[in-house]
């Protein structure tokens, strides 16, 4: 409960800071301090040293897995603010409020990782979504940002409606909002899962796929990711997306087998569709930002494997995937924000001008493509291995890896532009040494996790 309360309190504190303090840099430092405290509080709870306890009437339950993901999400946000804090402040006039919203999103994140009732899931999803709508439209003078925010809001509201409908149907079948609840009905002497519950969960699943931008519910993603200010795109494409997957895993694990054999068709179909749409469309993009938007759909396709396998390896894998994907994407976006030209050609010759930045971006790209020696490889590896452990058909894996090979095509265009092409990669400002240092730390982290991924899991079990 530490994460939920502390993040909410810091959100309110930042709100007050917005009119008490006038220095924009102070906001950034406050946010960094707040995130550090939040991380510390969450770690204290993870190791059962100190925690605020409320009777949540079984609405929330705190487990090692969820708390550990909290730590990942908070640490990733901390890194994100350290790396792009200056760009967050610069988006618009309401610098402090952006951090407020990020804190509130983290509150929603910690709700989703610990919900024990569908009501809390709904609250968590909404607490995440509404600040995101605002952040998407935070570049008020930019028409694209406005368009993206409106689109996101309308589509998101619709999917929220679906989610409520699903929760209502599930409630109708089970009689409570409990996560575990299984509504059964007598049928010809045997007990069957109630149709209402299946329909309800399907709706829930659809609306969460929407939030996770899994095909065929991905249509909002490219426009919103492109329209939103780049700093916030990187936040919502990584931390938020991973959180939704954690929520989905919790839900589907609690009600394993509820979809019956149909699940063996629906989910593989979704995986293939997501991978195909994300990867193939990304190939044709000229803008790096839009490419990253589609690639985030493609990466979601891989994350869906964790839902399919529903075993320990899948759970470990999704954690590793979140870390690998988040670090790499946040890193690339941090560089992208500083570029004058968002197209691939805008990166031409970056290696000659900024060797360290280019090298870091190269590591990020290699990780996203899943090349060995980077965390991205083991992230994909865990997904594939967990799926095959659960008895997935090899055809599914073959399709997945072929699309992984397709992804190499567009990821490597970035490397080609930076290293092999001549050009003047122009930046708005020269990256500072601390920025370069942070990028290098990101890259080193990815490589360390790529050699010894077990470093991450050691903390999961102890």
């Amino acid at each position: 409960m530490n994460a939920i309360i502390v993040s909410a309190v810091f959100g309110v504190l930042m709100m007050f800071a917005s009119f008490l303090v006038n220095n924009k840099n102070v906001y950034r430092y406050l946010a960094i301090i707040g995130l550090s405290v939040l991380l510390l509080a969450n770690i204290l709870e993870t190791y059962a040293i100190w925690s605020i306890k409320f009777d949540s009437f079984l609405q929330l339950s705190f487990e090692r897995f969820g708390l550990f993901f909290n730590s990942i999400a908070i640490a990733a946000t901390l890194f994100y603010v350290l790396l792009s804090g200056k760009d967050i402040v610069r988006v618009g006039n309401y610098s402090a409020e952006y951090f407020v919203l990020i804190f509130f999103i983290l509150c929603g994140v910690s709700l989703i990782t610990s919900y024990n009732s569908l009501l809390m899931l709904f609250l968590g999803i909404e607490i995440i979504s509404i600040p995101l709508y605002i952040l998407t439209g935070s570049d008020k003078k930019n028409l694209k940002s406005n368009e993206a925010a409106l689109k996101y809001f309308l589509m998101g509201a619709f999917s929220t409606g679906l989610m409520l409908m699903g929760i209502a149907l599930s409630y109708g079948a089970v009689g409570n909002f409990g996560l575990e609840g299984r509504g059964v009905v007598a049928f010809g002497g045997s007990m069957r899962v109630s149709f209402l519950e299946v329909a309800g969960l399907l709706l829930l699943f659809i609306s969460m796929s929407f939030k996770a931008s899994a095909a065929p519910f991905h249509f909002w993603t490219p426009d919103v990711y492109e329209g939103a200010p780049s700093v916030f795109t990187s936040f919502m494409a990584t931390i938020v997306k991973a959180t939704v997957f954690i929520g989905m895993i919790k839900l589907l694990e609690a009600r394993t087998g509820i979809f019956g054999p149909t699940w063996q068709i629906i989910l593989p179909l979704m995986i293939v569709l997501t991978l195909a749409i994300g990867n193939i469309t990304a190939v044709f993009q000229q803008s790096v930002k839009r490419m990253l938007a589609y690639s985030s759909i493609a990466q979601a396709g891989f994350m869906l494997f964790a839902l399919w396998s529903a075993n320990d390896m899948g759970r470990e894998g999704i954690l590793l995937y979140s870390v690998a994907y988040t670090l790499a994407t946040v890193g690339i976006f941090a560089v992208l924000v500083k570029m004058k030209d968002y197209t691939f050609d805008g990166f031409n010759g970056l290696a000659a001008k900024q060797p360290l930045v280019a090298a870091s971006v190269a590591v990020f790209v290699l990780s996203l493509a899943g090349i060995p020696l980077t965390a991205g490889f083991f992230a994909k590896y865990f997904m594939l291995a967990s799926a095959i452990k659960s008895g997935a058909g090899v055809w599914l894996l073959v399709v997945a890896v072929v699309f992984a090979a397709v992804s190499v095509y567009y990821y490597f265009r970035l490397i080609q532009a930076m290293y092999f092409k001549e050009g003047e990669a122009e930046m708005f400002e020269q990256p500072t040494n601390s920025f370069k240092g942070m990028l290098a730390i990101f890259a080193v982290l990815l490589i360390v996790l790529g050699i010894a991924p077990s470093l991450l899991f050691n903390y999961l079990y102890f």
């Binding site: 309110v12 709100m15 007050f16 917005s18 009119f19 079948a173 009905v185 007598a186 049928f187 069957r192 899962v193 109630s194 149709f195 209402l196 019956g260 054999p261 149909t262 063996q264 068709i265």
Partner: protein, 134 residues
């Protein structure tokens, strides 16, 4: 094949679905009736279009100007804030009824709720959301 199984599960596996059968029938009839009547009247009814008929109806008075006039955005802000605090007040009714039963625990919960709202209230005042003139 599995997909059809799923569909069959719907109709056979759960008698809840069977319970809804009459409602479904009624739904079909209701929609069908309305659709038929509108369709038939549109098909066989007499049609005579004049410019008067196509004008928007304003109690017999000639229509003037455009209905979509720009309004100050502040109206919306105030309206939304009003809704927020209105909802806050609504929560006091059930609390007032259960005031004694909920005891100190309930009191602290409500106190927290109100203080959060208070924080928000201070925030909007300080931010000048309620200031009418710039």
């Amino acid at each position: 094949m599995l997909w059809t199984n799923f569909l069959m599960n719907v109709s056979t596996a759960s008698n809840t679905a069977v319970d809804y059968f009459p409602i479904g029938i009624q739904l079909i009839f209701a929609v069908g009736f309305v659709a038929t009547m509108i369709g038939v009247s549109a098909l066989i009814g007499p049609k005579r279009q004049t410019s008067d008929k196509l004008q928007s109806f304003e109690s017999g008075i000639e229509s003037v100007g455009n209905a979509r006039q720009p309004m100050a955005i502040k109206y919306f802000l105030v309206a939304i804030l009003f809704v927020l605090f209105d909802v806050e007040v609504i929560f006091f009714y059930p609390y007032a009824i259960n005031f004694r039963d909920l005891g100190w625990n309930g009191f602290f919960a409500v106190l927290m709720f109100v203080s959060l709202f208070l924080a928000g209230f201070i925030y909007i005042i300080k931010k000048g959301a309620l200031k009418w003139e710039d």
